[in-house]
Symmetry: C2
Subunit: 231 residues, 2 copies
DNA sequence: CAGTATCCATTTCGATACTG
DNA sequence: CAGTATCGAAATGGATACTG
């Protein structure tokens, strides 16, 4: 890690934090990932070597602690690391307000489902096993169908059919589902224009949007002033 | 500017902001610098070519506006850029709390005086011309003596004696004055241990610490809990 | 004042394959 | 599961000199 050679605390912080990928790894840790291969799923474009390197740097800086729990390695944020939450949230809030709309280069089915599956509102869902099947019609075959299985307070993500009865099937393009996820368009609006479809028993169908919590940044007010979600 | 290929708003923001130097340029703009060579003084280790490049990127991203005001080029933050203030402040607050103490590699006399001179409390100072002479005894000759001249609501920084009568002379090591500036030690404490000296008429001498406003981050509470400034 | 232009050493990182 | 090892392409950016 190089240094800016400035005493300014902003520069001191950036000495550590502005390296590529660093704050995304921290974001994943804040989201609750604790194991190496769990972190990888949140930053799939990062090579394992680079992830290792960043984790080491963060451990050395006192942001992360590494434990060799019996049989599994665990990474955890220290108090210093926890205190980055406000910065990560502020960055996301700024990003959603001021960065241009999503382009194809930002779309990633695996990442989307990974995010979706860890943000289900279990309290709003039935206590019995619930299976949501997602079909992204415009995506390459291997990334087209996904199953999110909630049971016993646990949520699993599968890219092959786990075989359980499907509670609801959600069909959309990758772009549409991503835009809904980040709050660029409202679920109801996507349904209205035919870009998103839920196939399920009528009573279930109306519940589904409440089961998906959307991105933490989806409801950040946009600079235009108009509330997209209400439109 | 490369992209992380993620729809996550944190990643979107970092696509733009985690490039080296970018947030320091923004910090300078937030501090009020508006001209190219003014910006350079805040990021002296950055080459002109790189500063140009970053400014261009920021203009293209809608963070900065460039005007060719008659005879001078002016850079200004757009509303999107202004909204980064909270992030920069949070980074500085985090940095002062959690980064290790200052090392020699972070000390820079020019940068220190540049910061000092733009953070004088003019309201607390006499209305007449006031000249503060700084002597950093451990610094290379060319960076040892500085004069900060306040008159008519303007403050100028000189590295050669401007000739005016000196109101107060402040002597310290570069390290001491920097530590005082960022709040690692209190002015009074530095005086008590003989690391800092003010030479002026007695009535003036007690005023001087109130004329210098210190870094905006100097009074951030440190994680230890002990308030260094009160110690 | 506000940049351009050029060169090249260094760094970075992605891809790929392998390991206890 | 949690990494290591290696390699080479590409990008980065520092130094230096120059310009309208």
């Amino acid at each position: 890690m190089s240094t800016y050679g400035q005493f300014c605390p902003v520069a001191r912080a950036m000495d550590l934090l502005d390296e590529r990928w660093t704050l995304l790894v921290i974001r994943e840790l804040l989201e609750g990932s604790r194991h190496f291969n769990e972190l990888r799923r949140g930053v799939p474009r990062m090579s394992t070597a680079l992830l290792t390197k960043r984790l080491r740097t963060l451990v050395a800086a006192g942001i992360v602690e590494r434990h060799e729990d019996t049989s599994r390695v665990v990474y955890e944020l220290t108090p210093a690391g926890q205190e980055l939450r406000g910065i990560v949230e502020a960055l996301g809030t700024w990003g959603i307000r001021w960065m241009p709309e999503l382009g194809d280069e930002h779309l990633d089915p695996h990442l989307l489902l990974w995010d979706l599956h860890r943000n289900l509102d279990l309290d709003a869902m039935p206590d019995t096993r619930t299976v949501l099947a997602f079909h992204l019609h415009d995506t390459r075959p291997a990334a087209r169908d996904w199953w999110v299985v909630a049971s016993d307070g646990q949520v699993d993500l599968c890219d092959v059919d786990p075989g359980w009865e499907v509670t609801a099937r959600i069909e959309a393009s990758l772009e549409t589902l991503t835009r809904v996820w980040v709050g660029e368009i409202a679920w109801e609006q996507a349904v209205r224009v035919g870009a998103l479809r839920t196939i399920a028993a009528e009573s279930i169908r109306r519940q589904v949007p409440r089961w998906l919590k959307l991105s933490a940044f989806a409801k950040v007010p946009r600079p235009g002033g108009g509330d997209v979600l209400g439109a």
